[in-house]
C-alpha cells in the first residue's frame, strides 16, 4: 500500500495531548487499570512464563514454514467449503472484498472489529463504492460515528470519555441529553446495532487464529457481534493476515489463555467463535493478506514481530502510549508494536515512532508471545540513522559527543567549561528555548571539580598502595 506524507511528528502530537494534563492523567489511569487487571490474571497462573515461551515457540515454528502451513490451511479450508483468496496488498484485498460483495448484490455490511481492515482502509473504500459498512464492535462503532480512526487496537474508543459518548449518542441516536450512564448508553447502542444486524446483507470479520490442520478460523470478541454479523446473513468474509496462522487446534489452548488475559485481564474472551466452512446455503470467503508481512518475515531483526496476536498489552503498559494517546502515532497500530510495524511500511513517514520510547522494556516483559519489542525499536533507530533520515541536529550532536567522549582530556576540558558556565553565567544562558531539558527541569548543580580531576589530585598527593 502506498502511504503518503506528511511525516508523523510524534513529539509534537504527544506534547499537544499532554497539554491537557487532567485528560492525560485520566487516559493513563484508564489504561493502567487494564494493565493491573492483566497482572492479576497473569500472576494467577504459575505457568504464565512457560505459556509465553510455548506461544513464542509455536509462532516461531509456524512462521519458519509459513508457506507450507498457508497451503495446508487453504487446502483444508477449501475442503470445508470456504473460498480462499490471496491478496498481495491492501488494494488487492479491498478489490477482492468489493468483488465478492458485488457478486452477491450486497449493499449493507455488518463488520466486526478487524485491525486488518483498518490497515487496508476498507471502510472508506467500500463506502466510495456505494456500500454501507457499520462497525458493530461498540468502541469501533463510536469512533466510526465520530469519523476518526481507533486509538487502540483492542479498545478503539479508549480515548473518549463517557460524557462524550453521551453527547454523540444524543446527536446520533436521540438518547437523553447529558446521559452518561454506561448501561443506558450501551442499551441504546445495542438497540440500534440489532437493526444493523437484521438489515445486513453480509458480515465481515477479522481473524484471530487460522488453524492449518483444520482450515478453521477463530474470531474472539467480548460482545458477540462477530457471531451476529455472520449468522443472520448468508455471506461471511473473513479478512486475515498471513501471520495469524497456527498449526494445530491443540495450539489454541495456549493462545486463548494468553490473549484474553493479556488484552483485557479476562481469563478468556467472552466469545471464541470457531468457523469451519460456510453456514448452510451460505458462503464463507477467507481473504489472506500479505501487505508487507513477507518483507518482515525475510528480516532476521524483525521476524519475531510477526508473532503478534494483537492483544494490545504493549500499549496498555507503555508509559509513552498511555500519556500520548493512540492518535499521536498516526497509524492504525500504535504503541510499541506499531512503532515496529509502521516503519517497515514507510520508514520515513514513521521515522519518529521508534524514538517515541524511553526503552523501559516493559513491552518486552508483558508481551505474551515473546516479541523483543524494545530491542527491535532500538534496531529501527539504527536503520533510520543509517538511511540518513535522522534529524540533522541529532546526527551532529551524536558525532560531536562521540568525538568528545573518545578524548578524555578534551572531555574534561569541555566538562569544566560547562560547569564553570553553569556556576557563573546568568540563568538565561542555559534556560532558553533551545534547551528542552530546562523547560520544566533544573540542570544538575555543578560541582567545582569533576570526579576524575579530584581523583587525580588525591592520587598525586598520595600514590595508591598496592
Amino acid at each position: 500500500m502506498t502511504e503518503s506524507l506528511p511525516i508523523i511528528d510524534h513529539p509534537a502530537a504527544a506534547a499537544r495531548f499532554v497539554d491537557d494534563g487532567a485528560r492525560t492523567g485520566w487516559h493513563d489511569q484508564a489504561l493502567w487499570f487494564v494493565r493491573v487487571k492483566r497482572d492479576r490474571q497473569a500472576h494467577g497462573l504459575p505457568e504464565w512464563e512457560a505459556l509465553r515461551e510455548q506461544a513464542a515457540a509455536i509462532k516461531s515454528h509456524t512462521i519458519s514454514r509459513l508457506a507450507d502451513y498457508l497451503e495446508q490451511f487453504e487446502r483444508e479450508a477449501t475442503r470445508r467449503g470456504a473460498v480462499v483468496h490471496w491478496a498481495r496488498d491492501a488494494e488487492q484485498h479491498n478489490a477482492i472484498v468489493l468483488e465478492i460483495l458485488r457478486r452477491h448484490g450486497a449493499r449493507k455490511v455488518a463488520k466486526s472489529k478487524s485491525m486488518l481492515t483498518e490497515e487496508c482502509h476498507l471502510n472508506p473504500f467500500l463506502q466510495r463504492h456505494g456500500i454501507e459498512v457499520v462497525d458493530t464492535d461498540l468502541g469501533e462503532w463510536i469512533v466510526q460515528l465520530r469519523n476518526e480512526p481507533p486509538s487502540h487496537i483492542v479498545l478503539p474508543a479508549i480515548h473518549i470519555k463517557k460524557e462524550e459518548v453521551g453527547e454523540l449518542f444524543h446527536r446520533v441516536l436521540g438518547t437523553e441529553a447529558g446521559a452518561t450512564d454506561p448501561k443506558y448508553l450501551v442499551e441504546a447502542a445495542r438497540t440500534r446495532l440489532r437493526e444493523v444486524f437484521l438489515a445486513a446483507d453480509a458480515g465481515i470479520t477479522g481473524v484471530n487464529f487460522g488453524v492449518a490442520e483444520s482450515g478453521g478460523i477463530v474470531v474472539c470478541t467480548n460482545e458477540g457481534n462477530a457471531d451476529l454479523g455472520v449468522s443472520l446473513g448468508k455471506l461471511h468474509i473473513a479478512c486475515m493476515g498471513i501471520e495469524k496462522l497456527i498449526p494445530r487446534c491443540g495450539d489454541l489452548g495456549v493462545f486463548l489463555r494468553l490473549l484474553g488475559r493479556s488484552a483485557t485481564g479476562q481469563p478468556i474472551t467472552s466469545y471464541s467463535s470457531h468457523f469451519h466452512g460456510p453456514i448452510r446455503d451460505g458462503e464463507l470467503h477467507i481473504v489472506l493478506l500479505d501487505n508487507g508481512r513477507s518483507e518482515i518475515l525475510a528480516s532476521d531483526d524483525f521476524r519475531r514481530a510477526l508473532h503478534c496476536i494483537r492483544c494490545g498489552a504493549c500499549m496498555n503498559t507503555c508509559p509513552v502510549y498511555r500519556r500520548s494517546g493512540g492518535h499521536s502515532y498516526g497509524a492504525t497500530v500504535p504503541g510499541p508494536i506499531g512503532s515496529i510495524l509502521n516503519p517497515a511500511r514507510d520508514a520515513e513517514k514513521y521515522s519518529t515512532l521508534p524514538f517515541a520510547c524511553s526503552l523501559c522494556a516493559s513491552c518486552s516483559d508483558v508481551c505474551p508471545v515473546g516479541i523483543n519489542l524494545h530491542e527491535q525499536l532500538l534496531i529501527w533507530r539504527e536503520r533510520i540513522a543509517a538511511r540518513g533520515i535522522l534529524s540533522g541536529t541529532k546526527r551532529l550532536a551524536m558525532k560531536f559527543a562521540s568525538h568528545l567522549l573518545r578524548r578524555p582530556a578534551l572531555f574534561a576540558f569541555a566538562g569544566a567549561l560547562a560547569r564553570w558556565g553553569l556556576r557563573h553565567l546568568p540563568r538565561f544562558a542555559f534556560y532558553h528555548a533551545l534547551n528542552p531539558w530546562g523547560r520544566q527541569r533544573e540542570l544538575p548543580i555543578p560541582p567545582r571539580r569533576s570526579f576524575r580531576q579530584e581523583y587525580r589530585k588525591r592520587h598525586e598527593r598520595q600514590p595508591p598502595r598496592g
Binding site: 499532554v18 503498559t317 500519556r323 516483559d365 535522522l390 571539580r449 576524575r452
Partner: protein, 249 residues
C-alpha cells in the same frame, strides 16, 4: 587480590562526583581497592540509543581495550552496565576479549551481593525511602523481578537497603514504572518525559518518600531536576551514597 576497575560514567564524572566517591568507599569497606582509569569516559549508550552505532563503536572498543585488563569491572549504573553486557555484542560482533569482559562487568549492587557476597549493611538510615527501580537494571540485567513477569519476587537494591537501621521503604502504587529519562528521549520527547517524571514523583509523594534512591543517577538527575524546579521537599541519593553513609543535606 583481584584487580578491580570502577567505571565512572560520563555524567557521574562531571555532575555527581560524590556517587563515584561513595562507590569507592563502599567497595573499600568490603576490602576492594578499585582503580579508576582515565578512559573510557563513557560507555557509548547515548549514541547507540540514538541509532548512531558508528559513533558508539569507538567508545565500546575503548571500553573493552582498557577495562578488559582488569579482573572485574564495577559500575554504579544499571543502564551503563546493561549497555556493556547486552548491547556491545551488536557493536563488536563477538570479539573474544569482549566476551571475556562481558562476564566480569557488574553493576554495583549485584557485585556486592553476588560476587563479594556481603551481608546487607545494618548501619543507620532513619528515613522513609522510595526505591526507584531503574528500567535497564530491572529488565535487562534482572537486578529485580519486574512487575510484568511471573515468578519469585526479588530486588537486589531492596535487599541491600531493607536491613539498614531505621529505614522505612515506602509502598508505591506503581512499583517499577519508568521515570521518563530515557537518554536523548528526555529532550526529544520533552513533554512526555517530564510528565512521566512528575507522575513518578506524585507516586512517591503519596507514599511519603523522604529520600528517593535508585541504582542509576541518570534517572535521579531527571527526577531531581523536576523536584528542584518545583521546590519539592523530596531529596535524591544514589544507592551507593546511602550505603556509604551519606544523609540527605
Amino acid at each position: 587480590m583481584p584487580r578491580v576497575a570502577l567505571f565512572v560514567p560520563c555524567y557521574i564524572d562531571q555532575f555527581y562526583p560524590d556517587v563515584a566517591w561513595a562507590t569507592l568507599e563502599v567497595l573499600e569497606r568490603h576490602g576492594v581497592r578499585a582503580k579508576v582509569p582515565e578512559m573510557p569516559t563513557c560507555c557509548g549508550q547515548p549514541m547507540a540509543n540514538t541509532g548512531c552505532v558508528n559513533e558508539a563503536r569507538p567508545l565500546a572498543e575503548q571500553f573493552v581495550e582498557v577495562l578488559g585488563r582488569f579482573d572485574h569491572v564495577v559500575c554504579p549504573s544499571g543502564s551503563c552496565t546493561a549497555m556493556v553486557r547486552q548491547h556491545y555484542e551488536h557493536l563488536l560482533h563477538g570479539r573474544t576479549d569482549y566476551v571475556a569482559l562481558r562476564n566480569k562487568t557488574w553493576e554495583l549492587t549485584e557485585y556486592l551481593l553476588d560476587v563479594l557476597r556481603i551481608d546487607p549493611p545494618r548501619s543507620p538510615f532513619p528515613y522513609r525511602v522510595g526505591l526507584h527501580q531503574s528500567c535497564h537494571g530491572l529488565r535487562e540485567l534482572r537486578l529485580g523481578s519486574s512487575s510484568e513477569t511471573v515468578g519469585p519476587r526479588f530486588s537486589k537494591a531492596q535487599k541491600l537497603l531493607e536491613s539498614m537501621q531505621g529505614i522505612q521503604l515506602v509502598k508505591l502504587t506503581r512499583p517499577d514504572e519508568c521515570c521518563g529519562f530515557g537518554g536523548t528521549f528526555a529532550v526529544q520527547e520533552e513533554a512526555i518525559s517530564c510528565r512521566m517524571g512528575l507522575d513518578r514523583i506524585h507516586d512517591h509523594e503519596q507514599a511519603g518518600t523522604e529520600v528517593l534512591t535508585a541504582n542509576d543517577m541518570s534517572c535521579l538527575m531527571h527526577l531531581d531536576g523536576l523536584l528542584r524546579r518545583d521546590r519539592r521537599p523530596i531529596r535524591v541519593l544514589h544507592i551507593a551514597q546511602i550505603l556509604a553513609g551519606r544523609t540527605p543535606n
